[in-house]
């Protein structure tokens, strides 16, 4: 069981700790619904240090990345964060990730916690002269998410983060909080050019990314700095309504925005064509598994992940059957009660012919058939989509 450097903070804050993907993480501090609504209304702080951190670098690494990613990461400008899938030779999704070019021959990649070791082996097996540096155990990550996130960040750093656009990253010194006074040791943070120049302050990679559908930032710093950053976010953030948020609300927040959960919405047998979103595949470049996706697309015969909203009472859950005219047509992969809509919401696979918005179906909740309808994602509008 791994613990993040913030473990003691979570326990002190009353976090209910659970096992998740090999890590002991807080599922909630107070109530999942209250935490969820805090992020929608003001701002939440999440420990996401369990996520992986790779640097992949060396001559020709751009071409290598190009073949492993469904999106065109290679042609992204320096500092642009690109959401992408990695497929196997059968076109099946191995993981989803955010990859960011740090320089001409250097990329930063964040795999999911549960897939970190699998992805390291997978990328490693495609390397020639290039190298992969796995800093997953050396780096912490704190997500600050919600409408007031930019004000919270402004209380930590003099870097004008309003100039860092959605899905862009910048190296920033958190020069408005006390530094522990030592230099970073990881390949990600040492020897970088920081946006606010050389000087004091905790050094971090700050990206305008997240998993909540709200405006927000993810701060990646060294383990030794994590507690200082976390405390500063919570203390400075008080004025902006910041509260600590557990994995429970992280899951309901992402589901309201129809964001995929690795290992749940895809688990080794689905393609990017089935899951979407459509922009995750850049068809103009070549990548492993592309021909399978092209064949699948031409066949017009596959199951598609759709968003369904319950029109009756009842909460859809992972594994529940999706029914139509008395027969099973699919399966729910993610389901919950939406704290914002107060309705059951679900994502699940149905045959493509039944995937049109407005299609009526039922979700089998134990012995009850709950009426539901295919809706356009996301379930909850607003924020950054």
């Amino acid at each position: 069981m791994n613990r993040t450097p913030l473990h003691g903070e979570h326990v002190a804050l009353g976090g209910k700790m659970v096992w998740f993907a090999g890590w002991e993480m807080p599922i909630q501090y107070r109530s999942v619904i209250e935490e969820h609504l805090t992020v929608r209304k003001s701002c939440g702080a999440f420990d996401v240090s369990h996520m992986g951190d790779f640097i992949i670098r060396g001559e020709g690494v751009g071409d290598l990345i190009d073949t492993l990613m469904t999106n065109d990461v290679r042609r992204a400008p320096q500092g642009k964060c690109v959401y992408s899938h990695l497929l196997d030779e059968h076109g099946h999704i191995l993981d989803d990730t955010i990859a960011t070019p740090l320089g001409p021959d250097e990329y930063f990649m964040v795999p999911n916690a549960a897939t970190t070791s699998k992805m390291r082996k997978w990328v490693d097996s495609h390397l020639k002269s290039q190298e992969l540096v796995d800093m997953s155990m050396d780096l912490a990550a704190i997500a600050v998410q919600g409408p007031t996130a930019k004000d919270v960040l402004a209380s930590l750093t003099t870097v004008d983060l309003s100039k860092v656009g959605f899905f862009w990253a910048a190296f920033a010194r958190l020069d408005r909080i006390q530094t522990r006074g030592s230099e970073p040791e990881t390949e990600l943070l040492k020897g970088r050019e920081y946006r606010n120049g050389p000087g004091d302050g905790i050094k971090a990679l700050v990206s305008r990314t997240g998993y909540t559908g709200e405006d927000g930032f993810e701060i990646i710093c060294e383990n030794a700095d994590a507690v200082d950053v976390w405390r500063a976010v919570l203390e400075r953030g008080k004025a902006f309504g910041v509260e600590p948020i557990g994995l429970g609300a992280r899951d309901t927040l992402r589901l309201e925005k129809a964001l995929l959960l690795s290992g749940t919405d895809f688990e080794g047998a689905q393609t990017s064509l089935q899951t979407g979103p459509s922009w995750v595949v850049d068809w103009k470049h070549d990548f492993l598994g592309k021909s399978v996706l092209e064949e699948q697309k031409a066949s017009k015969d596959y199951d598609k992940l759709v968003c369904m909203m319950a029109t009756d009472r009842g909460i859809p859950r992972h594994g529940y059957d999706i029914m139509m005219d008395g027969s099973k047509v699919g399966r729910v992969t993610s389901g919950t009660l939406s704290p914002v809509l107060r309705k059951g919401i679900a994502m699940g696979y149905v045959p493509i012919g039944m995937s049109k918005v407005g299609t009526k179906a039922e979700i089998k909740v134990r012995d009850t058939l709950v009426s539901a309808e295919v809706v356009k994602p996301p379930f909850v509008k607003g924020g950054l989509e």
């Binding site: 909630q28 109530s31 999942v32 619904i33 899951d251 009472r313 909460i315 704290p339």
Partner: protein, 127 residues
């Protein structure tokens, strides 16, 4: 520390039973509601339904989990608490009062002898 009412009977699955003549009124304990956290949906049994001891009487759901409520006795469902349909939070606010789930007409009074006293239940909780 959770509340254990002295005048009720309990099960190891954290249900409580209040004996009202031939009726067993059933709910979940304060400990159970606290473990579940905020309850957002309650599935009630139909009145007239025949249940055996140990059968699923209903389901109580939080945002993240589904928890089954087992009938501590055999008999016929005589009443159900329809207030919980619109106000599932009553289970959190008043688990031993307004948050009752159903009342079962007893088929066999002997079922009651298998239930735990408040003292035994408190010991089970280790509080």
């Amino acid at each position: 520390m959770s509340v254990v009412q002295p005048d009720l009977k309990y099960t190891k699955n954290h249900e409580w039973v209040k004996i009202e003549g031939n009726l067993a009124r059933i709910g979940i304990t304060d400990h159970a509601q606290a473990e579940l956290t905020e309850i957002v949906f309650v599935e009630l049994p139909s009145t007239g339904k025949d249940v055996s001891k140990g059968d699923v009487l209903g389901n109580v759901e939080s945002v993240k989990t589904v928890s089954e409520v087992f009938s501590p006795v055999s008999g016929t469902v005589n009443e159900k608490n329809d207030k919980l349909v619109d106000s599932p939070e009553l289970l959190n606010k008043d688990p031993y009062g307004e948050g009752w789930i159903a009342a079962v007409e007893l088929r066999n009074q002997d079922d009651l002898s298998d239930l735990m006293s408040a003292d035994d239940y408190r010991k089970l909780l280790g509080e």
